[in-house]
Amino acid sequence: MTSESQSTDLAAALASMALIRAYEQKVAGLAAAGNFPSVCSSLGQEASAVGVVSMLGAQDRILTNHRSAGHLLARGADPGRMLAEVMGRSDGYCQGRSGSLHISVAELGVVLTSTIVGGELSLATGVALAQTMLNPDAIVACFFGDGAACEGIFHESLNLASVWNLPILYVCENNEWQAYVRRRETMLTPRIASWAQAYAMPALSVDGNDVEAVQHAARDAIAQVRATRRPFLLETCTYRMRGHMEPDDPAYSDAAELAVWRTRDPLERARDRLIERGLLTSEDYAELQAQAGARIEAALAYANASPWPAAGELTDNIYA
C-alpha cells in the first residue's frame, strides 16, 4: 500500500550505501586519472540519501541536484546508465545531454533535476501541486544543500508550500560546505531546520551519518506529510568528505575537521552496529563491498560500450 511506511532494514540500507560508495570511489578514481568529466561526489553522505529515499513509496517524486548519485542509486537507478550519462553517452538516462550534473530518471520518479542551486526548490512546489490534483497519494521529496538554503528561492518555496499545503518533504543535506565556501561563512545559525519556523513548518535536524536515525526521522516526517498534506523540513547533518568537484582539490579543505568526520563514516557505523547485533560478519561486509564493486565495474563496462550521440541529433528534443 502506498501510504504504508517502508521497512527500516539496516542490512539493506548498508548494501545500498555500499553501492553508492563503490560508485563514488570509482568515479573519483576515473576523474583523478583524467579525461573524465567533472562530478560532484556524494561520498560520505550515503546515509542521508539512503535513509530518506528508502522510506519513500514508489509513487512519490524526488527532486535532486548536482550531488545526486546517492539519491539516484538509493532509488534503484542503474549505475551503468548513470555512468553512461556522466560520460555523455547515448545510453545515459538523459541520452548524454545532461552529463553528471542534472540526471533525471522520470521512470523512477526522479524528476526535473537541476544544477542551478535552488532549482529543485523552485520546481518542487509545482510538482507537489500537480500531485495534489492528479496523484493524491504521492508526496514529493526535495533534496537540497545548505548552500541552496541561502538562495532566495528557499524562502519563497517553503513559504508557498506552507501557505498552499503542499505535501513536500524538504531534505536539507547540510554538509558544511558550499562549493569553496564554508557553511558558517554564510549564515549565523548552526541549523537550517530552525529557519522553518518562519513558515510555520515542522522541522527536525538529524545525524545525517547515521542511516538508522535518518530512516526513523524520514519515516516519521513522511508519515506526517502524508497525513497532514503539509510540508516538513528535515535537515540531515553530514559532511562533504571530498572537494566540491572531482577531481578532488584538497587545497582549501580542513584536515582536522575531515579527520573527525572520518570517524563518523556512515558505512562503518552501520556495519559495526550490524556486527554488534550479530546480523553481519566482517566477511559478509567484505563480500558486500566486493559485490558492489563488481556491479560498478560492470556498469563502467556498459557505459564505455555505449555509443556517443550523433552530431545530427544536436537539436532533438527542444520542443515537445
Binding site: R61, G92, Y93, C94, Q95, G96, R97, S98, H102, S104, V105, A106, V111, L112, T113, S114, I116, G118, G119, L121, S122, L123, A124, T125, G126, V127, A128, L129, A130, Q131, M133, L134, N135, G152, I153, E156, S157, N159, L160, V163, W164, D316, N317, I318, Y319, A320
Partner: protein
Amino acid sequence: MQTMSLYEAVGAALTEEMRRDPTVITFGEGVATKRPDLVTEFGALRVRNTPLSEAIIAGTAAGAAASGLRPVADLLFAPFLTYAMDALVNSAGKLRYMSGGQFRFPLVTLAMTGGGWCVGAQHNHNVEAWFVHSPGLKVVMPSDAADCKGLLKAAIRDDNPVMFFLDIGLLYERGPVPAGEHLVPLGSARVVQAGEQVSLVSYGKGVRACVSAAELLAEQGVSAEVIDLRSLKPLDERTLLQSVSKTGRLVVVHEASRLCGVGAEIAAIVAEHAYDRLKAPIRRITGPDAPAAASYVLEQAYMPQPAAIALAAQQLMAAPAARTLDKETVL
C-alpha cells in the same frame, strides 16, 4: 461578433480552456481577486492568488507543467520577469532537452509590457527579445483582442512554455472577437494590409503605428504592406520573406530597444535570405536604447510614431534603387 478588450479576451480564453481541460489552472499575484468569475466557476484551487514571489510562481508553473498540469502564470509586468528568469530559462526552456526529452512544459506566462501608463522603466520594459534568444521557449504578442484570445487559447494547448506578452497600451482597447473555438496558431504572421512597395513589419502596438504610417504613405502614393508577426518565436519567416521579396523594402518597427531586438533578427533573416530581392537598406524604427521615462511627453517620444515610420519608408523609396534596377535590367 462580440466586442471585448484584450484584458477581457484573456479572461475569455482562460474560461474556455479551463472548461475544456480540467488540468488548466491559473495563478499569480491577485489573479483570484481580479478574476472573481473564474474563482466562482472553477474554484479556489484552480484560480489562486500567490504571495509576492515571482521566482516561485514561475518555478511552480514549470514544475506543475512537467507533472501533468497546464498552468497559466500571471507575472504582471515584464520587468518583474527578472525575478523569474531561472525557472523560465534554465528550467522550462532547457530541462526537456537536457533530460533527453523526459519532460514537457505546457505552461503560459503572462506579462504586460510597453508604454501607455506613464509608470516608468521598472514597469515598462519590452524584454520579449530575451526569450526569443533563449532556447526552448515560444514568444507571442497579440495586437488586437481577437488575436489575443486565439493566440492565448493556442498557447494554453501548446505543449511548450509560451511567453505571452500583453501590450499595456492595447490592454483596454476593444475589438471584435469570434466566440468559441477561435484559435490562432503560434508561428503564423498576419498580412494586415497588402501592399507593393515597402513592407512594414511589426507586432503589438507597433502594428497600429504601421497601419497609420501606411495611410500616410498611401497619401504620398506609396503602397505599403503591413505585417503583424503575432508570434515572435516561432517566427513566420515565410510570410516575412514573401512580403519583402515582393516589395524589396523593409522597415521593421517595435517599441523594444533596438540592439539585439526582434527587429535585428528580422533584418538579419532578410539580409541573409532575401538579399537579392532588396532594393534598399533595411531600416529599424524602434524604441531608443534607453530606459522608459514615466513622463508622458518622454513616454510618447519613446514609442515609434507613424510619421517616423512613413519617413523611413519614403527614404527607402528614394534610396539607391539604381543597384536593383541594374540587376533587374540584367537578370
